[in-house]
Amino acid sequence: MRTPGKRERAEKQEEEVPSAGGTIASSSDLKAGDRVVYPKQGVYRVTGLEQKDIAGQRLEFVKMTREEDGATVLVPLGKVATIGLRRVASAEDIEGVFHYLGASYDDPELDWKVRHRDNVERLIAGGVLGVAEVVKGLHSLSRLRPLPAKERELYDSSRHLLVNEISVALGVPAVIAEDYIDYALMPPAGVKLPLKTPPTPVELKGPPWKRKKPAAAEDEDDLGLAELGIDLGALEGAAVGESEDSEEGESEGEKPAEEGSEEQAAVPVKVAPAKVAPPKAPATVKAAKPAKPATAPKPVPAAKKPAPPPRAAPPAKKAAPPPAKKAAPPARKAPPPAKKPAPKKAAPAKKPAKPAKGKKK
């Protein structure tokens, strides 16, 4: 399958940004004095609209000032909906965050690539609970092993964002907000936190290559049936048989080879060889290779055109390639055996040579 390029990924990601609670959908939702959270930036206060001439165009911006340091940001009106602006979390949301932080945490994600992608996505689109997820996840990981520099930075920045938002939402100084967070993350010895069921984090609908798929879906993708234009809905039964066959092919290498002769004729041979090759050891692969061509393509002709008789002739022609491939493996494998006997032949050859040397001497 073709892997999407960076640009495509970015576009898809923008399109599929899931909405966390309080997301601002359009600029009309904003008015001067509103407090909003700019993902990965912090809490801003909207100061009003501003018009500017840029490159000969008159553009309108929402002007916002960061409460922490007074930095000003101008966001084009058209971009307001896409940058993930959201309202500052309510006190109820914040309470949920603390119950989430205080809850026991299952195994942190150990694959750093997945972890990094998910964390970045959560910071952008996960709302305040998404930020808490990042903090909690990295904090838990830091207890297992020291965080690498990049993740340490991410941890610090996400923690800073969380502290600021909690501080604004609860109306307490940042230091106190930080105390609350650490009290939940690292309660003092002997203290049992009054925890409730934590809220469910926003499900991230990021680009498909990020998400884990159910086993069945992965199998379908592996088969590449979509590329062949095969409707799986119509072939459900056949697909099951297919998978069973393939398993058999792997476990019982020789059987499929025998069966393969007739039915495999209709097989689009392209699919099978590619799949069989990787998993098997050389000895079994020989037998397995023919097995998959035989089974996998079967359903295809049956489903597309229910009339097998007219195809009887082409199968015969197409049948030729499979045998050829069958023949091919032996041919490929022939060389290795040839190598083995070689030393035997060489040995006798050398033996006579020695006496020859002796004769010379």
Binding site: F98, G102, S142, R152, D156, Y180, Y183, P188
Partner: protein, 181 residues
């Protein structure tokens, strides 16, 4: 300059040890600014003192723009109650602020033996470094060996063996950057 103000009687030796340690830790001159009266306005009905209010009401001392003032007290402090309860208060300091408050109420008793006094002094210095760190805009740190680790954390050993003036690498670098600016 770091200025130490005592809101309760403290041993001179303890203050001298603290001054030395703060100087070693931050590289800034440290001096004892004298004793002041504890502001009773901040007292709560249960006898504790509201940490935020106590710091607000703490008697002012003459200080210059970059100076940091540390108030030492021995009364029990209280933090505002949070969603999961009240975190124990060992002190208080506003991030980026100029004044910090440290209480010795939760420390182990000072005792009379050299060992217990040493433990007390080290803990006092550690807490002062922690809250002055907040004045330098430093957040808490998950590394128990860092001075910015939360004071109540179970990971923090009761008798700290770590060096008092040590921040973790990240906090240390950040502190240096801030100090330069």
């Amino acid at each position: 300059m770091i200025r130490i103000v005592t809101l309760a009687p403290f041993d001179e030796g303890d203050i001298a040890f603290l001054s030395k340690t703060l100087y070693r830790s931050f590289g800034i001159g440290t001096e004892h600014q004298g004793d002041r009266a504890l502001p009773r306005k901040a007292e709560l009905p249960d006898g504790r003192f509201d940490a935020l209010k106590l710091l607000d009401d703490a008697p002012p001392v003459r200080a210059y723009a970059d100076d940091k003032v540390v108030y030492l007290t021995d009364v029990e402090l209280a933090n505002p109650k949070g969603p999961l309860g009240e975190p124990p208060a060992w002190g208080h300091a506003l991030q980026g602020g100029e004044r910090a408050l440290v209480s010795t109420f939760r420390f182990r008793p000072r005792g009379v033996t050299e060992a217990s006094i040493e433990v007390y002094r080290r803990r006092l210095a550690r807490e002062c470094i922690h809250f002055i760190g907040h004045l330098w805009d430093l957040h808490h740190c998950y590394d128990a060996r860092c001075a910015m680790h939360p004071s109540w954390s179970p990971s923090l050993p009761e008798d700290p063996e770590f060096e008092l003036d040590s921040f973790c690498r990240d906090k240390s670098e950040r502190r240096i950057r801030l100090a330069k600016t």
